[in-house]
């Protein structure tokens, strides 16, 4: 397999992982709104459902994007596809 194909395969796998995490916190958990509300796990004392909609999921998205960017940079470096500074 060519270098480029390998690079793309790794990139695609990273995409799937990223989208899976994204799916859980943007869609998945909201199938269980009522269960989250009843949960005894209350971050900072807020009902879990309320907390996830106003901070939890939002904060996770921020972290997820930075994590994704870091991983993708590693993949690019590994195959020597990183841009040169003077491009």
């Amino acid at each position: 397999m060519s270098k480029q194909a390998q690079h793309w395969e790794k990139t695609r796998n990273l995409l799937f992982v990223t989208l899976a995490i994204w799916f859980v916190f943007s869609i998945g958990i909201f199938f269980f709104g009522a269960e989250m509300e009843a949960s005894t796990f209350r971050p900072f004392g807020y009902p879990l459902s309320y907390y996830m909609t106003c901070q939890g999921s939002l904060g996770i998205f921020v972290i997820l994007i930075f994590w994704f960017a870091g991983r993708q940079e590693k993949i690019d470096d590994e195959f020597g596809f990183t841009e040169r500074e003077d491009d």
Partner: protein, 606 residues
């Protein structure tokens, strides 16, 4: 004081700017103590900030295409993040979001999740690849990737429909704020707003819009966070409201049941006396009050719409590299998060200020005549944003007898909580900044698509640079003017049209953009079918639902993008597979886009 290149000095320049703005707030506060009138403070805040933006716009004037279209591709990561956040957070986010949460609770917060979750899609599916492509506009990508003027034109059509729906709402918001702060009629204020918007973008295009948006972000975030922290501390609710309002959320739930929320209903005849646009509290503050599907479908539409809206995407064309484009998405979302995570806190503080009889500011349970004699009540009643009426005739204000406009949560809460007027002036300046920055991004997205893709690429490919940029500016003016004229008619509310814009963008552009990078087999006929078919299906569904059709799958007029984008996906795949595969040059181009290194697909000047 400032030496060397502008870009190298950005932190210093904006540091001085922020310090200057804070000093201005303090001077205004002193002036208020010295007896300056509230009206004058409002005028100073709005006029001063708008003049600063205009100055930045003038300083950033340019006659080069890559500066005009993509700010010379040299905007650093963090600053691009701030500019995107301002571009993104519109008058709706600033003025209407906390109000929506206040009135609709959990069900409404799907928008918060959707408007942030979409950035994960932007970062992982699109932004870095479109940056590598090196396009000036979103239709530029579609036109080059799929080939042919028809694909390009289809993308321009979808872009125009979505962005134009959005921009009328923003110009409307600038008009609303300008009319309140400057005390002029709405019909005039809309054009004052338009003039401010054009001053920021006319001369310098994307370069000017970028540097004004950074300045606008700084104003709007200070204007949003300062009152939230101040009110929370004043009330004794917590030094850091985001982590400390759990007791207040619980207290609201107690008060809701004490005041008979949900059990006492107003009669239709009583409600008919309430001025249009005002609402009472009818939904619980924190309880899960909607079905999972309603929540999720709205969130999905907002996420896919985020990843399809051209004025957001084009901000990532301005970074120096693919790597910085990716990181810049993270910074954008971080800066957006600062405001979005504060909106529910503001809604909580606002509601508790009004409801809690133990607080000096609480009005529920007081006598009607007492409430009617409060200064702020009279002000906001006059502005048509507040209303009380003694429906049951007991002389006391009940929870179901108090009505408020959505905008009042942000605009009036500082005054209700007893903050000095200087804060209300600051909030007006913040709202103006939010609406202006988004309107600028949108007007520029439309006019760039028309000038670059329609005029230069399709009508007159031999046009000289100077001529292209004059055409771009004329179009910018015309589009702004058309938007303002429609905004002056006041057809629909701010929030409704914003949500529609997301659905339109998602219907027509989401899959053609994503598959353009991720599916090599996608070809021009498929993309055209996807864009036009998706847009047509979405629009048809919207019209049908609005004229009484009950709809299917629980898809409403707020989520019609689901229908549109599914039609778009199916058409795109089927038509692509039925027609010829893209030629090898196109396939190679897609391969090239998928790796960050090397030259961009489109040249630096094109």
């Amino acid at each position: 004081m400032i030496k060397g290149k502008f870009i190298d000095n950005l932190p210093k320049i904006y540091g001085i700017y922020t310090g200057g703005f804070l000093a201005f707030i303090i001077i205004m506060a002193i002036a208020e103590q010295a007896g300056m009138s509230a009206k004058l403070i409002g005028i100073f805040f709005v006029a001063f900030t708008v003049l600063i933006y205009a100055l930045i716009g003038w300083l950033s004037r340019t006659m080069q295409t890559d500066a005009y279209y993509v700010a010379g591709r040299q905007v650093p990561t963090v600053f691009n993040g701030m500019a995107t956040a301002a571009d993104w957070m519109s008058g709706a986010s600033f003025v209407a979001m906390a109000g929506g949460i206040y009135f609709k609770g959990y069900g409404y917060m799907a928008l918060l999740v959707g408007w942030t979750g979409g950035y994960v899609l932007v970062a992982s599916l699109l932004a870095p690849y479109l940056r590598k492509f090196g396009c000036y506009t979103v239709p530029d990508f579609i036109g080059t990737r799929y080939g042919g003027n028809l694909a390009r034109l289809s993308a321009v059509i979808v872009l125009t429909v979505a962005s134009f729906t959005y921009v009328t709402a923003q110009i409307n918001a600038t008009g609303t704020i300008a009319s309140v702060a400057l005390d002029i009629p709405f019909g005039v204020a809309v054009y004052v707003g338009l003039a401010s918007i054009l001053m920021c973008s006319m001369l310098g295009g994307m370069r000017a819009v970028t540097w004004t948006q950074v300045a606008q972000y700084i104003v709007l975030i200070i204007a949003y966070l300062l009152p939230v922290f101040w009110i929370s501390n004043k009330m004794g609710a917590g030094v850091f409201p985001h982590l400390m309002l759990a007791d207040e959320v619980a207290r609201i739930a107690d008060l809701e049941s004490q005041f008979g929320l949900g059990s006492i209903k107003n009669s239709a005849a009583d409600l008919a006396t309430v001025p249009k646009g005002l609402a009472g509290i009818t939904k619980a503050h924190s309880e899960v009050n909607t079905t999972p599907w309603k929540f999720i479908s709205l969130a999905v539409c907002m996420m896919a719409g985020t990843a399809s809206l051209p004025h957001v995407m084009m901000r990532y064309f301005t970074t120096p590299s693919v790597r910085t484009a990716r990181r810049s998405v993270g910074w954008s979302l971080f800066f957006i998060f600062l405001l979005y995570s504060s909106a529910p806190m503001l809604a909580t503080l606002s509601k508790l200020s009004l409801m809690d009889p133990n607080l000096a500011t609480g009005i529920i349970g007081k006598s009607i005549s007492e409430v009617q004699s409060i200064d702020w009540y009279q002000n906001w009643n006059q502005a048509n944003l507040m209303f009380v009426s003694d429906f049951n005739g007991n002389g006391t204000l009940e929870l179901n007898e108090f009505f408020m406009g959505g905008k009042a949560v942000v605009l009036a809460t500082p005054e209700i909580a007893g903050l000095p007027y200087v804060i209300s002036g600051l909030v007006a300046a913040g709202g103006m900044a939010a609406a202006m920055s988004t309107a600028d991004g949108l007007v520029l997205a439309i006019s760039n698509a028309l000038s670059h893709d329609v005029y230069y690429k399709m009508i007159n490919p031999k046009a000289e640079t100077a001529k292209r940029l004059i055409v771009a500016r004329v179009l910018l003016f015309l589009i702004g003017f058309a938007g303002a004229s429609i905004a002056a008619l006041e057809i629909q509310g701010i929030l409704g049209s914003v949500i529609w814009a997301f659905d339109f963008a998602m219907s027509g552009l989401f899959f053609p953009l994503v598959l353009g990078v991720w599916w090599k087999r996608a070809n021009a006929p498929g993309a055209v079918a996807g864009m036009l078919g998706g847009l047509a299906a979405g629009t048809a569904y919207l019209i049908a639902v609005r004229s009484g059709y009950p709809g299917f799958w629980g898809v409403t007029q707020l989520t019609f993008g689901i229908v549109g984008s599914l039609v778009s996906l199916v058409l795109m795949v089927v038509v692509s597979l039925m027609t010829k595969a893209p030629d090898s040059a196109t396939q190679k181009m897609v391969d090239e886009v998928r790796i960050p290194s090397g030259k961009t697909v489109l040249g630096k000047q094109h």
